[in-house]
């Protein structure tokens, strides 16, 4: 209980005093996760729309695999990305290991299935609603996908927020591929893990509260930008 209170107090002071190190770590967390989120959405939304409108062999198998990959263990993803990016790996020449880029790659792999699966549910329902109309209008496959993505944009926002939540709180994969290097790849979650390991529970809790506050702030901002929950909107 004392640790919790100390953590809250410390978090308050860290924020109030605009602690430089905290700001740097928080901004890096945001940079890594938001970059991964944008790239993941660019992959996941068209994929979900394609799976909603196209009928082809093994489609259901692909959807089942995508759903299963929502529970992809981050540590395993981290390990695979590590092997691929390590000096002896196929992409070792790029020198990306222990950089924020490697962390972004790992996060993309983790959140694409999650965003695509949630988006697919929404787009599939919308496609059932639109099917007859768009078929009668002779709309091309690309136009169908664009129409679904645009008209379901607020539902897709929920999918992207779920992806953001998974990404910002992720520690296993980015610890492996990022290495938790001070001033380079340290983010809030890896810093929490480090401070906990050192027994500095109050500081770890403080960072945890900052992480929660950051997550809530970003969610609120995206909701505000997306104009969700407003009267007369979808």
């Amino acid at each position: 209980m004392v640790d919790l209170w100390d953590g809250l107090t410390q978090a308050f002071w860290l924020v109030i005093t605009l602690d430089r190190e905290l700001a740097e770590i928080a901004l890096r967390s945001l940079y890594v996760t938001l970059t991964a989120l944008v790239i993941a959405c660019l992959i996941a939304f068209p994929l979900a729309a394609f799976l909603a409108v196209r009928r082809f062999r093994f489609r259901r198998l692909i959807i089942a695999i995508l759903n299963a990959l929502m529970g992809l263990p981050p540590v395993v993803v981290g390990l695979i990305v590590y092997v691929l990016l390590s000096r002896s790996g196929p992409f070792g020449v790029l020198g990306l290991l222990f950089t924020p880029t490697a962390m972004i790659i790992a996060q993309i792999i983790i959140i694409v299935p999650l965003i695509a699966s949630i988006a697919h549910q929404s787009l599939r329902d919308l496609w059932q609603e639109y099917h007859d109309l768009l078929i009668s209008m002779n709309v091309s496959q690309g136009q169908k996908m664009r129409t679904l993505i645009w008209d379901a944009r607020r539902a897709l926002l929920t999918a992207s927020l779920a992806g953001f939540g998974r990404g910002i709180g992720e520690v296993g994969a980015i610890m492996i591929v990022g290495g938790n290097i001070d001033n380079v790849t340290r983010v809030l979650t890896t810093a929490i893990a480090l401070e906990t390991g050192k027994g500095a529970f109050a500081l770890a809790l403080a960072l945890g509260f900052v992480l929660i506050a950051l997550t809530i702030a970003v969610n609120l901002m995206i909701h505000w930008l997306g104009q969700t929950e407003r009267e007369g909107r979808w």
Partner: protein, 235 residues
């Protein structure tokens, strides 16, 4: 020129059951053809067959141009209008946008239609917030904005009150006067009498009787058509 349309022994099935057919029709290029018949007689399926959105399992449907070209100058209005999750004006502009017309131009044309159908005060409201009659008027505007040569309408006034029906029929009459060919199904015999130049009476998926509207309504040739017009139950 799309017409005449020659339908020869057209048939469609689902799960091995014949839904419509064999049907043979010869439709010329003016006025309104009204398809009537009891529930389950295949009115909606026949409309989809003619429009090319139902699979043709046997027979032929021959427009004077290939089906793909014919589809490009046709529109379809559904019994339950499908509203895109967009504003009223964006719903109406949609068919133009997918044809590659610039969005600003498409919206300008859509605004003209919004005024014509009396929804100008609701132009920027979500289409799904409109009443049933307003949604059907929007669906009509969306169907007519591309200036199609043929419009298929599947019971366009089902579940609408008299006023909404009158407004929709006025739009249909106006478009017919401008040369748009209508092929519609209806359960409303009053509407059929008001709009039809030609009647197709379907029964159990087949054309039971067809011909010009006036003689059909005044002296139907078959007992089933006679009973149907009298309001008797026809299977």
């Amino acid at each position: 020129m799309l017409f005449p349309l020659n339908v020869t022994d057209a048939q469609t099935r689902r799960w091995g059951k014949i839904l419509v057919g064999p049907v043979s029709l010869h439709l010329t290029g003016a006025g309104a053809t009204v398809i009537i018949g009891p529930n389950g007689s295949g009115k909606t399926t026949l409309l989809h067959l003619l429009h090319g959105t139902a699979r043709l399992h046997a027979g032929t449907i021959a427009w004077q141009v290939p089906m793909a070209e014919a589809r490009a100058v046709q529109s379809f209005v559904f019994q339950r209008p499908v509203m895109l999750r967009r504003s009223v004006v964006d719903n109406i502009a949609y068919p133009l946008v997918i044809r590659g017309i610039r969005k600003s131009e498409a919206r300008a044309q859509a605004h003209d239609w919004v005024k014509r159908i009396g929804l100008d005060e609701m132009a920027d409201r979500p289409a799904t917030s409109l009443s049933g009659g307003e949604q059907q008027k929007l669906a009509l505007a969306r169907a007519f904005i591309t200036a199609p040569q043929v419009v298929f309408l599947d019971e366009p006034c089902a579940a609408l009150d008299g006023r909404a029906t009158a407004e929709i029929e006025a739009i249909l009459q106006e478009q017919m006067a401008q040369g748009t060919r209508l092929i519609l199904s209806t359960h409303d015999m009053g509407q059929a009498r008001r709009l039809a130049d030609e009647v197709v009476f379907l029964r159990a998926g087949q054309v039971h009787e067809t011909g010009p509207a006036t003689p059909f309504f005044s002296a139907p040739q078959t007992d089933a058509a006679h009973a149907f017009l009298n309001g008797d139950i026809v299977e």
